[in-house]
Symmetry: D2
Subunit: 334 residues, 4 copies
């Protein structure tokens, strides 16, 4: 289903080339100041246009259709909608029968019996993350002073990110990358043992973002090569500060007050100008395919703000669950 969260619950909808994409945010505390301008920073970070991203430009103007009154959240569901403008569906009609390798075309066709909106990836499009980022803007207000920061660590296997992008553009191919997210000023005791552990819920949310292939917390895969005497983080203070932070801020699924750290692997954009082989599902013949439409060389570049949003949404839910946030919001002093 297209919803996530227990007390702070988001539901996304829309298609890349349909009428709109958007999000319903349920469970937001009442009284949070919210203006259109509040979305600008995160939307522009998610936006395309920079080198290595698709030339498709959407205005991404949020229409707040419910849940906000006098520039404050009311406590009722907040529906934010983005009407699609810059759609060029003619690019995609051939793909109805020729599923692109690496994309969801084949699986969507089988899951929805051919009724899916196949234009531009339809409901599977990365454009749906716009709703996530919008919800993230509100989540970040809720969890304040907790801070979430996502950034690119490397693309195409290199930390020289600009060089990697240039080379990929030259080679007319796509590349992946690694994004790190840190959550700081985290209260102790968020999360549950087992099924609602912090790692479990964050990873659930993160794998909802298209193109993610892996996630690791703290020492991550490196932990498998460490000794316990090294990996264990010695506890130094009554508020839980540890000497090292191999645990990534989580013990037994529960925050220990140190920084939460996780990294995600982003695969190379599935759309590439390179020639690939696939099957025409109408004729049953193998065909060659080169994706000519507009697309990102490195989708990882646009992922950090989405990962931030995802993490902030999860934290908002956990903080509401643990009564770290009041149901009626008290604005900070100016």
């Amino acid at each position: 289903m297209n919803s996530f969260g227990k007390l702070f619950r988001i539901s996304i909808f829309g298609e890349s080339h349909g009428e709109s994409v958007g999000v319903v945010i349920d469970g937001s505390p009442a009284g949070i100041p919210l203006k259109h301008a509040d979305f600008n920073t995160d939307f522009s970070r998610r936006k395309s246009g920079a080198k290595g991203t698709t030339p498709r430009r959407e205005p991404d103007i949020p229409r707040i259709m419910s849940g906000v009154f006098n520039e404050r959240t009311t406590g009722a569901p907040i529906m934010i909608m983005f009407e699609n403008a810059n759609t060029r569906s003619r690019d995609y009609t051939r793909l109805q029968d020729v599923p692109r390798p690496g994309h969801a075309d084949f699986t969507a066709h089988r899951k929805f019996g051919g009724y899916q909106d196949y234009r531009g990836g339809g409901h599977f499009s990365g454009r749906l993350t716009l709703g996530l980022v919008a919800a993230g803007v509100i989540a970040k207000k809720i969890i304040d002073p907790v801070e979430v920061t996502g950034k690119i660590l490397e693309v195409g296997g290199s930390t020289d990110i600009q060089a990697s992008i240039d080379r990929a553009i030259e080679e007319q191919d796509s590349i992946g990358g690694i994004v790190e997210c840190r959550i700081s000023k985290v209260p102790v005791a968020l999360g549950e043992p087992f099924f609602d552990s912090i790692e479990a819920v964050i990873s659930h949310m993160i794998f909802s973002i298209p193109a993610i292939k892996g996630i690791e917390f703290g020492s991550g895969f490196q932990a498998a090569r460490m000794k316990g005497s090294v990996h264990n983080d010695n506890i130094l203070t009554m508020d839980g500060t540890t000497e090292t932070n191999y645990a990534g801020g989580i013990n037994g699924g529960i925050t220990n007050g140190n920084e939460i750290i996780f990294r995600v692997a982003v695969k190379p954009t599935s759309s590439t100008h390179q020639v690939q082989r696939t099957l025409n599902i109408k004729t049953g013949n193998l065909e060659e395919l080169s994706i000519e439409g507009r697309h990102d060389t490195c989708i990882a570049l646009r992922v950090p703000v989405v990962v931030e949003a995802a993490a902030a949404i999860v934290m908002a839910d956990f903080m509401l669950l643990e009564q770290q946030v009041k149901r009626i919001f008290e604005t900070k002093r100016d």
Copy 2:
């Protein structure tokens, strides 16, 4: 909360040194043959006793307290309980005030205000995975002919597993490992776009297992270093078979019919004989601590069957959702 799943739903309970651990399995189809002996193989794989595992031996005798009648599931909730026998709680009393580094002692204390059962990790103990494995035995029957196979890839950074264990025992330290899981004969079109993607739900479940620090699907973190033209799996046949399987059997969150592959990183056992520093939360003084009780040198050795169970439970839920399993079970012909 301690429940997981939509249509095939499990709830775990219990403490390491309390009366019992166990599981309630709700949503199992009616008519599945189920005998006590069916649990033997997976329980013995999870059991300790081999070199590198704890000398604590529990009989692990499942008491099926509801939901089975005439050796068939009835469709009502199945409660399976394991009464704890071999508990030596005196080992743990000191730990009430001295949280062990790497363990959940500190976070549990803060979350539950000191009321938690601190003996042997209490509700946070790996012993709780016994309920998962029990549910996994039933899940495997439900998803048949889908097959789930977990295995150790490496421990202590080496594929020579026996040597790694020997060295760790000699050094009186603990080590981690990497476990791989493959799910084969998977129907196409399981999973949902976004929040209930196959990766999202599997990772949620996997991070519920204690000691897991990372998960990756298909090419995983390596994907971040690949080019799109290489990473994309060319589609070869009408049933979705691909030339390569970097996607790990999943596109857009949905199964494509190829093998699902994922790997998980298991950290070194937190209990180690090595001296560590921690805080006495009663006195506020730093203390030195060496864990003398019974514990595993390499918990990763016991993880494969737990990962299998986790994966089977998730698959059972998705297959019920997609109506790939009937609510009333029809036994296979012999």
Copy 3:
């Protein structure tokens, strides 16, 4: 929260005098034919305008913003929005401080700390049922050939409904009524023992409709005065047909194949021209209040189609759960 359902899940949003009201419908099978005209009949039944209903007229034009492509559902979430047009907010400003007896003004103020949209009842308005009715239109297509029929049994304590309305208008007061709903051609074996019994889930949904004060199934409250030998419905045929239907089509929470019958009590519209006493929550003084705005004399008149929608939504969910509906819809032959 503002969502309901397990596999067929609806989320409503909006305010009476805000930008919009609407609904997101998640879990609809793919392939259902859906046109704007399909909503006409049920929307006109819900509409005001008839004697005894409010003179506020809204065009109620559904904007389908996602989830439908080429006039078929795609399987992705369907967002249907209604932009509010005929709002006269000046009617309501005084009510910010003077909660109307019988309305949610006082409770909303306390729940949302004064941040709620108080205009016209805001998010508590009966106008939100428009989303329910829209979802009901789709649900009715899903459950076909199961049929749901709601009708007024009595208003103001009388079956002469027209006379009751005339008298209430003359007296400038409001009146209630009783609505009956019948669901026919129901498959046997929908529903679950205990918490997801048919009665439990239908009643949950029905009490979500504003102004409902009671519900009874089959013999209902009359059952409390009957003898078992009379009340028990003798079973006559292999398909479960019973001689009588005091059970209202449900045994042990599960459909028995006979007609599901339930009745709901609708209270008189809370808005009335009669003078009432209430408290000014700003001054703390008691005041007299007479509601001058536009309102229904008898809201019960508009309830049958809402009850139908509610029942159809519940049935759609249960039928998906019991695999009585395919996830990819096969259109009926013409």
Copy 4:
């Protein structure tokens, strides 16, 4: 499914004549004092033995198998189990093929394909309410000082309850009754608009109790015959006290601080010594049936404490949601 609740979540399991019945309670705050003796009062109110109830006597000894340590809740799931002792399964074997009118025998057979435990109603038995009552004991501690009181209003259509019982026993028939529940000292602002309204969630829970045919809040069905000017409860004080309480303490689905009042209709016990007609589902022939086993003349007599438990469970969940209860319980001073 067999679970209920968002933050305070109960899962029931068991069969009337199987190994056990019981409940898992998840989400209880840590630190609540809990002893075996705490269950005595409510268990004895639910117990049979009085005139009009079944002669089957079960010791109903709770075994607390997890979640309690040193006579305090730990915050982990509490599993409470009751092993069945006094089972006389030979009474029921014939019923495998001859579904009793009014019982769930026919629907259970169809739902579970004949695999259900048919002995004594199996999982559909009223014996499962023992788990509800156990959870209710804990819920009552959580919601303190909120008080829940259930009582019989009438049985067999009369308030002379003893006379009604005597007559029914003489006539060898069964009778129903009406139970009222009042919840007092309720905080304002519990509940949600629409789907999680107080009425919606209470009714959902109440209809999970076997034999309930109707529920009404406040004025209930009588509201349908009242005028708005009478039905509206004038607000008198800043804490929401109203002049009358026709609303039953709820406006717009949200508590207004006045007493919550609801009544439920309990049908006559389905088991009766009177001869009824039903179908032998093996032979297809109509047969006559008279229930000879042990059963209640008037099950309504045992319902008040179950209704109380149901209401307390719902209130505990709402109070946790609204942060009216701390996650770590602070014991009241003596």
